[in-house]
Symmetry: C2
Subunit: 460 residues, 2 copies
Amino acid sequence: MPTLSDAAREYARAHNDQFVNELCEMLRIPSLSGDPAHKGDIQRMAEWLEQHLRALGLQNVAIMPTAGHPVVYGEWLGAGADKPTVLVYGHYDVVPALMEDGWNTNPFEPTIKDGRIFARGATDDKGQLFIHVKALESYLKTNGSAPVNVKVFLEGEEEISSPNLVPFIKEHLDLLRAEVCIISDTSMRAIDEPAILHSLRGMTYLEIHVDGPKEDLHSGLWGGAVHNPALALVEILGKLYNADNTIAVPGFYDDVVPLTDEERAMIAKTDLAPEQFKQSTGISEIWGDLEYLIRERISARPTLDINGLWSGWAGPGPKTIIPAKAGAKVSSRLVGNQDPHKIFEQIKTLIESITPSTVQVNVELLTTGNPALFPIDSPAMQAASRAYEKGWGVKPIFTRGGGSIPVVAEIAKMMNIPVVLMGFGLDDDGLHSPNEKYSIEMFQRGIQTAIVYLEELANL
Amino acid sequence: MPTLSDAAREYARAHNDQFVNELCEMLRIPSLSGDPAHKGDIQRMAEWLEQHLRALGLQNVAIMPTAGHPVVYGEWLGAGADKPTVLVYGHYDVVPALMEDGWNTNPFEPTIKDGRIFARGATDDKGQLFIHVKALESYLKTNGSAPVNVKVFLEGEEEISSPNLVPFIKEHLDLLRAEVCIISDTSMRAIDEPAILHSLRGMTYLEIHVDGPKEDLHSGLWGGAVHNPALALVEILGKLYNADNTIAVPGFYDDVVPLTDEERAMIAKTDLAPEQFKQSTGISEIWGDLEYLIRERISARPTLDINGLWSGWAGPGPKTIIPAKAGAKVSSRLVGNQDPHKIFEQIKTLIESITPSTVQVNVELLTTGNPALFPIDSPAMQAASRAYEKGWGVKPIFTRGGGSIPVVAEIAKMMNIPVVLMGFGLDDDGLHSPNEKYSIEMFQRGIQTAIVYLEELANL
């Protein structure tokens, strides 16, 4: 007997081109959340989504203000009070993309090649959030209803660590109330190895400013008696690491929950092949803490990375100056029970204690996010597993994710519901990199899986 | 009895405003030699100078091509073969200047305030080279002749270390032949402490490129198993220095001619006061090799400075990437018998030997310049000392300069003549810095001194 989902799945297959065209419309809007110059684009993106949700027949559709970029909200509650409600979270903002970073095509003019859509935000997260919108559309257009109630909750500040989302959720707990939250903003290793993440890393992101002379100095006239701020910064950053590639910040590892032998054994089964890792990244040799497997290093262990570095003259040719200042962006991916604010204080304290009196240092917190960890045996998790089996065609693995979706831990805590991380991206989609892409096949199979999942949730 | 120079000095005093206005015309042309985008401005500057020299009545005036930016040449040989010939060298090119570096006014729209002209190139070297042009004009306009023959030789590549000047001199040794070369491109500590430099530092300027992943990577997905190129660069740069602020490059100091006790005693008499040094630079504490006096560190000792540093994201807000690459500009000021190419090889060898196999490094030589050292008892040096006494009003000291004018050592060697470095700038003119300036009083006293010097040279 055909189920409601059969018709919806057929509709989705038949309307693939329309769905892709609509996604491309979204991708043309450069909704950069970190750059004030793109505030207008954020607004345009929010308005596009508002109109789109309204046209699908959702109710209560609104652009809802926050202290920063707005939330777009819409709901379909026609399944009735006896059916579960699903909260779909996604983010419509993106990170910067410049042609000179190495893009082959305009990052904000989606280009389809070899079955992939190349554009900033294609996989992170416009393509993935759209999967759930299109799954809902497929039900509504065929059956006039869906198996469960759905609330669509799209934010515009994920890439700047969602500074205003917690207050927003606090203020709208009733509106957002649901039995489960689905987020598709993560990835799998290969198209036939779908993964549900049960853990995400948190983050502490900071900026370090070193100030020396009051202005750039001529290196001939003053060189030899002035502590070069770029050198001072180099000396400071060098002291954040140990020789074995572990992090030298006192107390940094104190709160990390150790991996159990059982979990290590499970991770070992899906560890990354070094050759594949090297090919995906283009590096010549794997780096890191040799006490841990590659997959552990990139998902279950905390990190400290320099995300940006600047000082003095970076243009063509020589310029013989002692720069007035130097700066760095540094961020730490956190796991287990690490607290982002405590980690910030630990890093700041170390930096201040090792900065010599020849320069001034200023350590500024940019953003934070808590790590998250969920049990894999909950009904919602198991229903997701079944949805992949039917919709994707492959049983998924449960794994830990190395990335950070700061709001995941907050949603789970504040709303007291499980968050199911159904990542429909590929590890090598190049999110945050030049030539970010999204496979149209992944997009299609994601919609199929999302359609099945709504039905699975109705039967819990 | 009034001498020829009295009339010339009177003319210079009377025409000060005209001279300043002409200088401002020069300063309006952004003749950046290091940036290909300014090639047209270099040409405009050369044409301006050509027309100016021709209008003063010089002969053989021409824009002479090199493999890079052209030389502007003009001569007045009316003093006759029995009189000495003076070669005046200057450079009409400048280093970059951007408002966002901290300029209070447009660097290419000269602004006069408190008797100072604020503009890029005001002191380095347009203002100073113009002193000799105006000294010659003052003779020609009053006496119809000058006490000696004068050849004016202006290059456009000094700020990129004069890559084409040596071949040019080699090819035009006859044209340039002279008994002495005067260069005004250096500075004194205070207006009543004029200094003639008898030594200049040389330079090795290089760029370091560290390459890691093939593109910027998401720090969450890959962080922990990829050697961050910014970190690798930090580790490399940190190993170029010892803990006592000396340079850790093996062999770096091998060829440095030690300072004699006599010279150290002379330098000690004019050492810089730490408080004055801190005030001029804005630093909180003096840095460097504590075995040496401040003045020794900034003039008689070699240095290694980071002039620029770049990697990843330096814009507003966070961007969670592992950068694909990182780079630095590094330059060394050389003294005594240090050879810039040997020093480059030493630095390159060290960097290559300490770079781990997790990243690729590329060390590229940008420019070099030899250090220079002249005896202070030559007739031309002593004549210069007398010219300051009469023209400037104060007997000058002989001192070592920390800067580099790469061509000085080459002119001395190839033409076998003394080079007299009559610096008419002030140490705090801010050359290569934002708000570079030149005091109009320095400009005037420089012209007076240059006028007297031509007469002193005639009487040798």
